[in-house]
């Protein structure tokens, strides 16, 4: 129903209220204001308010429905809605106890009563179904209404006054005045409430807050609009005519309004709507804060700031305006020379207002707001550094602040560190929400320099101030987070030329070392320390400091505890692990590389585990919330680890390990599968009747593996070092040629081993010379490989030294012997199965026990002394060499990787339950 043609009866009046209020609803509610900045008591109040609003809104919605049904005389529906209404009312009992029965509810009841009575009278005209419904409605209603008799009676006596009374009992007189205006001008209740409030003045803002929220639409324009509507509602056409008399009146009214509005803190901006309404000019005035001749001093500015800030987080607040107001206030304060502390305080407020501007957690700031934020942040940090004598602390209460007295040290309440952290998070969010392949991303990324500069500035400030260690750890962590994933090429050059110590000096490695050392020592939350370690591991691995990275990883005991960490830390752990694996590969430690990468790669979801993109939804669908959370966790694109490199490095290391093993145990029934992922790819390609030339990266590696298995090292080398792999993988490494030659050498040796495994049965003896020609290796290298194989009993052979030949000792077992061997294999399998069965049946079996024992043992050494363990690393380290000994490097395998996902989903479940 059109609001323009609103009738005069009270029904529609409420109706328009409802729609009015509906109007308000979509205004985004800033979640941000619930952040760290508001005082506690204010917050609790606010919570109550929202609860009340929610309940009342619910009731109002039902009321609206009731009315609609009433209009079409659908008694059945009315009955239904009435039930709902009573239910909704009962639900909000708690709120109502506090606030009293709301007027609109009473009014609805009164209306309903009228309706029932009226319908009862005209019963004859109703349909059968409706009559039946009416009967039950009537009886129900009568029963229900008993509790409200008093209120209803008083409402009937004086419908409007009682309403006002209920709302703001203390201002009855003014209300009466208003009432008269109401009658004359036909103003809506909304308008009335506004007038009343305006008179009340700013100091009572909080009390009538609820009213404010309900009635007040937030933009002035719409306000005037509705006012217009009221004025012209009897004659819509007149609205568009200009009448001098009217205008006169209007102007007078505006003047009055201006006066009232001028007192309202939220609306200090001069009306622009009044001009707007005339259709000629649109003029945006600069916000005016003070009258021209007002004396600007600390008290005034502070009061004004307080007024502005008290508007924070309200639905009705125009956030853009707030920012500008504070900005203006800053200019005013600066002009008046009110001193540094005021400046700082205003800056802090300004930044929080800018943060408030964007109410939604999932989306990022608009570009211009972000730019402004960066600018202000830069100013803030610069300012702090220049005025480091000021005390800016979280725990300074408002009344303990000193902003005016220059003789005493300035004290300001504020938490710049938290602001900086938010800014950093915002930066990440912006990058997350930008398409990684668009030029925008680059543009956004360019801001990183600024962000880092701000963080560095803050760090310098805090170092100068000797901030407490906890805060220092936080800022250091931020700083590290911006360094750790970048390669410092200067360092790489340096370590190639000079000694390690020279290279480290002045490089990012040094910076990281210093910051991390501080965190190791000072951090009290294990999380920051763990993250610092992991980032350091990542960085070291990136810079080919494989041994350092490995030792640190083992010392951190991250493998044991990572399953209890939060998802972002787990992601970081996975990243560090992958980088460690790739680094091991570059260092030529194929086994370690394989172990480190295995769990990530063979899970089939490296993308997800590294938070580099969401997998397409599988059977168990993600709910939108889950997706949101996951999205927020994603790494920005520039921090991604190249998945091609990861896959290829993993496959090639698996090839080096698995292929000789495959060749050696070609004919055995039971085979240990070292790398499932590789093995399956291999099997799959073997199944093809005809395999074409390789196309994808895995296909290249598999084709190379096949060549290696037959000892065809040349083809293997061609494939592994082909253009495609060069382009997509090896060229990304710092010294690609070195890696390539390392790979080539390994390929030769590995092919030789494969050749010997698969073909030794066909030889009685083979000369070293032939082998050396075949594999392009020197005699010494051949002998060394042979020696290793002989000693480890991989090859039943020996070298005949004078003639330089390898002599095979293979004796083929007879049929009976072969069968006996098979039987023995089966027997041992049998025993093994039995043992496994027993293990499963007895949870406290021996193995588990030793495991926990070891845990305890380690705990005694390390965990208990977590702190000490790191301090001691300063002059050595507590390296968990149990790990080395007991479990060897297999321990590297982050068994908990899989947990990451379980965890993740648990996490989600929790959330959805919530």
């Amino acid at each position: 129903m059109s609001r323009f043609f609103a009738g005069k009866d009270s029904d529609t009046e409420t109706e328009s209220e409802v729609s009015d209020e509906e109007h308000v609803q979509p205004v985004a509610k800033s979640k941000a204001y619930q952040g760290d900045f508001s005082d506690d008591d204010e917050e609790t109040k606010r919570v109550v308010r929202t609860a009340k609003d929610k309940r009342f809104e619910e009731i109002r919605n039902v009321i609206k429905n009731v009315k609609n049904s009433k209009k079409i005389k659908d008694v059945g529906k009315v009955l239904e809605e009435f039930d709902q209404l009573t239910r909704a009312f009962a639900k909000s009992q708690k709120v109502i106890e506090k606030e009293g029965v709301p007027v609109f509810y009473v009014r609805t009841l009164v209306d309903l009563e009228d309706f029932v009575n009226q319908s009862w009278a005209e019963k004859a005209t109703l349909s059968k179904l409706n009559i039946k419904a009416l009967g039950s409605l009537r009886s129900k209603f009568r029963k229900y209404v008993k509790d409200f008799e008093g209120q209803m009676a008083s409402f009937r006596l004086n419908p409007v006054a009682s309403e006002e009374e209920n709302v703001q009992g203390e201002e009855e007189e003014e209300e009466d005045e208003d009432e008269t205006t109401d009658e004359e001008g036909g103003m809506t209740t909304a308008k009335k409430a506004k007038g009343a409030k305006a008179k009340k003045g700013s100091d009572e803002m909080d009390e009538d807050e609820d009213e404010d929220m309900d009635w007040d639409t937030d933009s002035e324009t719409s306000e005037t609009d509705s006012e217009d509507e009221e004025r012209y509602k009897n004659d819509p056409a007149a609205r568009f005519l200009k009448r001098p008399g009217d205008e006169e009146k209007q102007r007078e009214k505006e003047k009055q309004k201006k006066k009232t509005v001028g007192n309202r803190p939220g609306h200090m901006r001069q009306r622009r709507a009044e001009v707007d309404e005339e259709g000629w000019t649109t003029m945006t005035d600069k916000p005016k804060l003070f009258s021209k001749d007002a004396e600007i001093n600390h008290g005034v500015v502070l009061k004004k700031l307080g007024e502005i800030m008290s508007q924070r987080g309200k639905k009705s607040t125009d956030r853009q305006e707030q920012i500008e107001l504070i900005e203006e206030l800053r200019v005013v304060a600066r002009r008046a020379g009110l001193g540094e502390a005021i400046e700082l305080k205003l800056m802090l407020s300004l930044i929080s207002s800018i943060f408030d501007y964007n109410p939604n957690m999932a989306t990022n700031m608009k570009a211009e707001v972000w730019r402004r934020l960066l600018e202000t942040m830069g100013q803030l940090v610069k300012f702090l550094n220049e005025h480091s004598h000021m005390e800016v602390l979280e725990n300074i209460a408002d009344d303990e602040e000193n902003v005016s007295d220059p003789t005493l040290p300035y004290r300001v309440h504020g938490l710049p560190l938290a602001l900086i952290e938010r800014m950093d998070d915002e930066f990440t969010r912006i990058l997350q929400n930008t398409d990684a392949h668009s030029p925008d991303y680059v543009e956004n990324l360019k801001n990183e320099a600024k962000v880092v500069a701000i963080i560095e500035g803050m760090q310098a400030y805090m170092e100068g101030k000797k901030a407490n260690s906890e805060d220092m750890c936080r800022i250091y962590e931020r700083r590290i987070a911006h360094i750790y994933y970048k390669i410092d090429y200067k360092f790489m050059e340096g370590s190639k030329k000079g000694t390690a110590a020279q290279a480290v000096a002045g490089s990012s490695v040094e910076v990281l070392e210093r910051l991390c050392a501080y965190i190791y020592n000072q951090d009290m939350t294990d999380r920051t320390r763990l993250r610092a370690i992991l980032m350091r591991v990542y960085h070291a691995a990136l810079h080919d400091q494989w041994y350092e990275a490995r030792d640190l990883m083992l010392m951190s005991k991250a493998q044991d505890n990572i399953s209890h960490a939060d998802p972002p830390t787990q992601v970081l752990y996975n990243r560090a692990m992958v980088q460690l694996g790739i680094s091991a590969f570059r260092a030529g430690n194929i086994n370690e590389a394989h172990n480190a990468l295995m769990d990530i790669q063979s899970s089939g979801r490296p993308k997800e585990l590294l938070a580099q993109g969401l997998l397409p939804v599988r059977q168990h669908e993600r709910s939108p919330e889950q997706e949101k959370i996951e999205k927020r966790r994603q790494m920005p694109f520039h921090m991604h680890i190249n998945l091609d490199v990861l896959e290829c490095v993993y496959l090639v290391s698996a090839m080096f390990i698995e292929v000789p093993y495959l060749a050696a145990h070609e004919n055995e029934q039971r085979r240990r599968i070292i790398s499932k992922y590789f093995y399956h790819s291999m099997k799959q390609s073997e199944r093809h009747a005809l395999s074409g030339p390789p196309e994808t990266l895995p296909e290249y590696v598999i084709a190379a593996s096949k060549a290696m298995k037959t000892g065809d090292w040349k083809r293997c080398k061609d494939l592994i070092l082909s253009d495609k792999l060069n382009k997509r993988v090896w060229n990304f490494f710092y010294e690609a040629d070195k890696i390539r030659s390392m790979l080539a050498a390994r390929l030769q040796q590995c092919s030789l081993r494969c050749f010997m495994f698969s073909n030794s049965a066909f030889y009685d003896a083979i000369s070293v010379k032939t082998l050396s020609q075949m594999f392009d290796l020197t005699k010494e290298e051949i002998l060394s490989v042979m020696g290793k194989m002989i000693v480890t009993e991989d090859l039943a052979a020996s070298v005949d030294e004078p003639s330089q030949t390898v002599i095979m000792h293979r004796t083929e077992p007879s049929r009976v012997q072969q069968l006996a061997l098979q039987l023995s294999d089966k027997l041992s399998l049998f025993v093994e199965t039995n043992e496994k069965l027993l293990d499963m049946k007895t949870p406290n079996n021996q193995r588990a026990k030793t495991w926990t024992d070891r845990r305890q043992h380690q705990g005694g050494q390390g965990q208990g002394h977590g702190q000490a363990a790191y301090q001691e690393r300063q002059h050595g380290a507590d390296r968990q060499h149990h790990t080395y000994q007991d479990r060897g490097h297999n321990n590297y395998q982050p068994r908990q990787h899989n947990n990451y996902n379980d965890r993740q989903y648990n996490h989600y479940n929790d959330l959805s339950a919530y």
Binding site: E801, L821, D825, T842, G860, G862, G864, G876
Partner: protein
Amino acid sequence: MAEYDLTPTLSKFFDRHLIIPLLEFLGGRQLYDMNDIGKAKIKVLQDTKMFDYLLQEYATLTDGTSPPPEIQRKREEVMEDFARISEQKQEILEYFQIPAVQKLIEDVPDSNVLYEQLCKEHNFGSDMLDKIYDWAKFNFETGNYQEATQFLDLFRSVAPTSHSKQRSARWGKAAGEILLQDWNTALEDLQQLKTDIDSSANPTEMDRNSVPIAELLTERAWLIHWSLYVFFNHPQGKDKIVEWCLGSADYLNAIQTLCPHILRYLVVAILANKNKRRQHLKEVKDVIEIIKQESSNYSDPVTEFVISVFVEFDFEKSQKKLQECVVVLENDFFLVGCVIDFIASARKYIFETYCRINSRISIASIAETLNLGVDDAEKWIANVIREARLDAKIDAAKGEVLMGTPALSSYQMLIEKTKNLALRTQQMVNAVEKKAGPRPAPFQEANVNY
């Protein structure tokens, strides 16, 4: 060879007094300039109270550095101290001359009880303990180790075990014994010290805060270093070092984190140990694992030799490394006594591995690898074959060694595969029984009703 000299690294882990023998040794090796060594000695001695020795060192310097004048002053101070502290000694001696006290000391072995009783009955007190300790310390600093150890012994026997200076007293005593070259007692002391350290690290004790783990680690590292004196002088020392270092993760941990150079001593101790042949292979394997892990932190000819023989099977390299090892060992204070044993053992290992790989070897090439003359090599091989019971024969006419080829027979394989199955099953049965309670009634009885 100075690059492999560990003295500077080692000296961080020694007491000043224990460094002096190292420097004395270096003085005789012409590795460094004598003046430098002299200066190093002076630096070490400066903070001790052995002024005569210090002055004497100044005198040997040839570059004309003269002793600074404050030494004289300090010396006089110390003399005064000595006069003062000697009175205390008299007091102590008199006290322990009292027959009742003597008797008590003899009767009560437990120092806690003894201390209490002495306090109660004989007017003993912590000031007395301090006096004993001070006197011992003074003596130690002036180089009078005999006196120092005696009094520290006394201190230890009367002071309660919880006394804060007990640990220091023990360290002092051990140092004293080492400097007196009384290896047996020193070994005992060090062993005591080891138990002390280990027990203070025992995770079952809840007051873990008493000794921070960093301190423990350092103490262990020190202990290992001090023990080097004993390890390479005591007849059973070489067994001990292996036992200590490889036997417990804690010490291995300390070595790997603080002092990987100890690996050199460990390797030499293993290889140069003449008794118990069988055990060695396992030890060698363990040590190789550690060496590989620490290859980024520490390597020297000795560790490289081990790697070349047991991991790379590069005999040319190992031969080269062996020659380097000899020089390194000869210049090492602790290892100088093991050179011959080490070389013999190293050769044996090279040969053994060589034989495992080769089936026919010319004696000439062996001689080259082992750095021996052909005739010597033949003799040497014959010896080895007899000792190690190698399955090999020398073909003197062709100048070759023929290895027996120990082909692995199927029967052997079968036995190896099935050998432990019975044991494993037995264990399983035991486990099941333990869980299920007593064995059910025998089968036949249960079936009586049938």
